[in-house]
Symmetry: C2
Subunit: 445 residues, 2 copies
């Protein structure tokens, strides 16, 4: 397959008149037509309207009036994010006819920047753990991961240069890792959650699936920033500039994360990627997890179950059978939780958010395996968010980048974790790692 050019290149070519947005849309639509029967990444597409939008944007560009940094660039949107022109079904039968009358704030910002919402991408039901129909472009017998399954598969298939995803446990990082692309989750509170179906409001993050780190930085800075309409949005200056890393970035490694729970082949590929970064000039330092890491998964689970069950309680009391088994179990378990358990989990979250910063005393970036193993075979599971949910719990920003392929030809990735609000440094380090490692394989789709 032929990968799409970078977003910076596309935007520049559109602005300069070298590329007609309509032609770009046709390329994407053709690619979708070709791959969709195999990967099932899209849940709603409206080619005619998108063509009309592209024509309007083409005219504006030729008049020299670009709307913003994404003028004419097509973006996919995970189907839990409200769009006023497409239905937003969240993968659920409850929302079959649900066409919101407003755009989510992040969609509003994309449109204001000139982006074309190409269509809605498949999500697992309510962004939970019930696998959807999407398949992994590297091998359609494997899961693409979840819950941002369609966004990851569509980007990996070269059908769109970027797609919105969301993460409560590992729903951006995991599908990015399984599909061999970049997954970027900004700090909690960075990108507005207004107009996004909830899974667990104090863990939910909006982020991006892209081919390269630079693309994630460009689209990420468009969707980020304070939104007074989201009560959990934080007013903090947005600067996602990627700076050249000179000298190479000091990297922290948590040895336990490499040895425990990581499959041998994945560990070896990850460690040789780390070796490659060291050869490239990066210094690596062993860092220690804080005590509060010990029960981070249990506490994260309590918050997710409690908040998820509160959000769905009304639907659940009316039609429990309309939920799929995994999300239903999450709600059932959540509704049985006593308030005191959730109180303790929220206290743990505040303590962990603070304690985890001790890891960044001497380094700016932590590197871990992105997942314990590559995408599992079969569509029965969306995989394991073990290495991702601590960063959803702490709200720290993360970037996942692919580093190699295993013996079965499935991607293996690393996960980079930065300090709160320190996305510029995180993205700069991630871009540096990406160029040093030079992973450029593409799925044979």
């Amino acid at each position: 397959m032929q990968p799409l050019p970078s977003i910076a290149t596309l935007a520049e070519q559109i602005r300069s008149g070298d590329l007609n947005p309509r032609d770009l849309i046709e390329t994407c639509l053709a690619r979708i037509e070709e791959t969709e029967p195999k990967i099932h990444a899209w849940v709603a597409l409206d080619p005619d309207r998108v063509r009309q939008e592209a024509d309007i944007l083409a005219k504006e560009a030729s008049n020299g009036s670009a709307r913003g940094p994404l003028h004419g660039v097509p973006i996919g949107v995970k189907d839990i994010v409200f769009t006023r022109d497409y239905p937003t079904r969240g993968g659920s039968e409850f929302l079959e006819d649900h066409v919101p009358d407003y755009d989510a704030t992040v969609v509003e910002r994309l449109r204001d920047a000139g982006a074309i919402i190409l269509g809605k991408t498949v999500t697992t039901e309510f962004a939970g753990f019930d696998p959807a129909e999407t398949r992994n472009p590297w091998n359609t017998e494997h899961t693409p991961g979840g819950s941002s399954s369609g966004s990851a598969a569509a980007v990996a298939a070269g059908a769109v240069p970027a797609a919105l995803g969301s993460q409560t446990g590992g729903s951006i990082s995991r599908p990015a890792a399984y599909c061999g692309i970049v997954g970027f989750k900004p700090t909690y509170g960075r990108a507005s959650l207004r107009g996004v179906l909830e899974l667990a409001f104090s863990l939910d993050h909006i982020g991006l699936l892209t081919r390269k780190v630079e693309d994630a930085a460009i689209v990420g800075s468009v969707i980020s920033g304070y939104d007074p309409k989201d009560p959990n949005s934080v007013d903090h200056p947005v600067d996602f500039t990627i700076h050249p890393c000179d000298p190479a970035p000091p990297i922290g490694l948590v040895h336990a994360l490499f040895t425990e729970c990581t499959e041998d082949e994945t560990r070896n590929i990850t460690l040789s990627a780390v070796g490659c970064l060291e050869s490239g000039g990066a210094t690596t330092t062993a860092v220690r997890l804080p005590k509060s890491f010990a029960n981070v998964h249990a506490m994260h689970r309590i918050i997710m179950h409690a908040e998820g069950s509160a959000y769905h309680a009304d639907r659940f009391s009316r039609k429990p059978n309309l939920f799929r088994p995994n999300i239903r179990r999450l709600i059932e378990e959540g509704l049985l939780l006593p308030a005191a358990a959730y109180v303790e989990a929220k206290k743990h979250q505040a303590i962990f958010r603070r304690d985890i910063l001790s890891m960044f005393r001497d380094v700016d970036i932590i590197v871990t395996p992105a997942t314990p193993a590559p995408a599992p075979h079969g569509l029965e599971s969306t995989g394991d968010p073990l290495f991702n949910s601590p960063w959803s719990h702490s709200g720290l920003p993360t970037v996942v980048i692919p580093v190699g392929l295993d013996a079965n030809g499935m991607p293996v990735s690393i996960q980079l974790v930065g300090r709160h609000w320190d996305e510029s440094r995180l993205l700069s380090a991630a871009a540096w790692c990406e160029s040093v490692i030079g992973f450029d394989a593409l799925p044979n789709l």
Copy 2:
């Protein structure tokens, strides 16, 4: 009775050598000896050690080396705040022999500023609603309010120039109002809660009881500021400077708060205080409560019960009968709450914190009655926090100042509410109101 001079005056006289801290301590101790049999404000006092400290501070002052802005100034500390030299019993039989091995951060900061911890003041059990033995200095047949009962009574009795209090519902504002003194609660996250017994961690505030607004600003700025050891502490610059109000401050009034639930006489005295502010040059504007105010009390109650029950769950499972009836009922009810109810209450809190700011569009300060009525007769209840708990829920800073006496000679007070982190403006307006109203009555004790 003879009121103590202001803290600014005391500190200046000590620095200049005009006042020996030992003499000031003797004045306070004499006043305590005189009033304590009637009001029962103190739960722990160690006159000999305090005299020794005063002598050391006197020597330092005479050498020209004052430790800080409170050098030699005695402060009372509510007995839920840890002190390494006094027991911290929190009004509970569970903590009979509890002498913490460290000072709470706020106590550390007071000592660093040169303050003398005069003793521990009576709290209701675990800062809840079970009345303690303290009586109101204006009429010992009335409650002083709770839960900072001893701090309010001691300051009102002229036994100490300032005392630490804490508020989860109305535990600073209400006793201040009932005892005719100033109560100051800074923004949530301002003053560290490390080393303070919890009632409900996301509602708990540390603040001050003083005679005048200026005293509250001085001590408040000493105890405030980021504490990395408190996971809920917020890093925000502290500036509690009182500026002259010229022109007079624009004041917002919520008419519903004056008409609903406020006793006639209290309303009339409050409204004539507002009239007095208007005559002094203040413009008043009617402001509207946001929709989310409607269930603020119910949501506040759920958070308090859920967090309180989680905090005490272990003690409760071991010895339920050691709790008094009101705190026991709070724990029992809290332990029955489902997590989903607490989730909804926390979501409401975030929305209310945001929505309430709409009231400050045209004004910097909101004025309300401080309490629905003056201190109730008898010690069966600590009174009603109805007008105070919304500001604990929202985390907005408040100042209570006395404005008059009712027909029974009991104080009536107003409550001023400011924007988050805007204490300087709030305290400036409060000092202006205080000087315009000129309330100077003292209890006849």
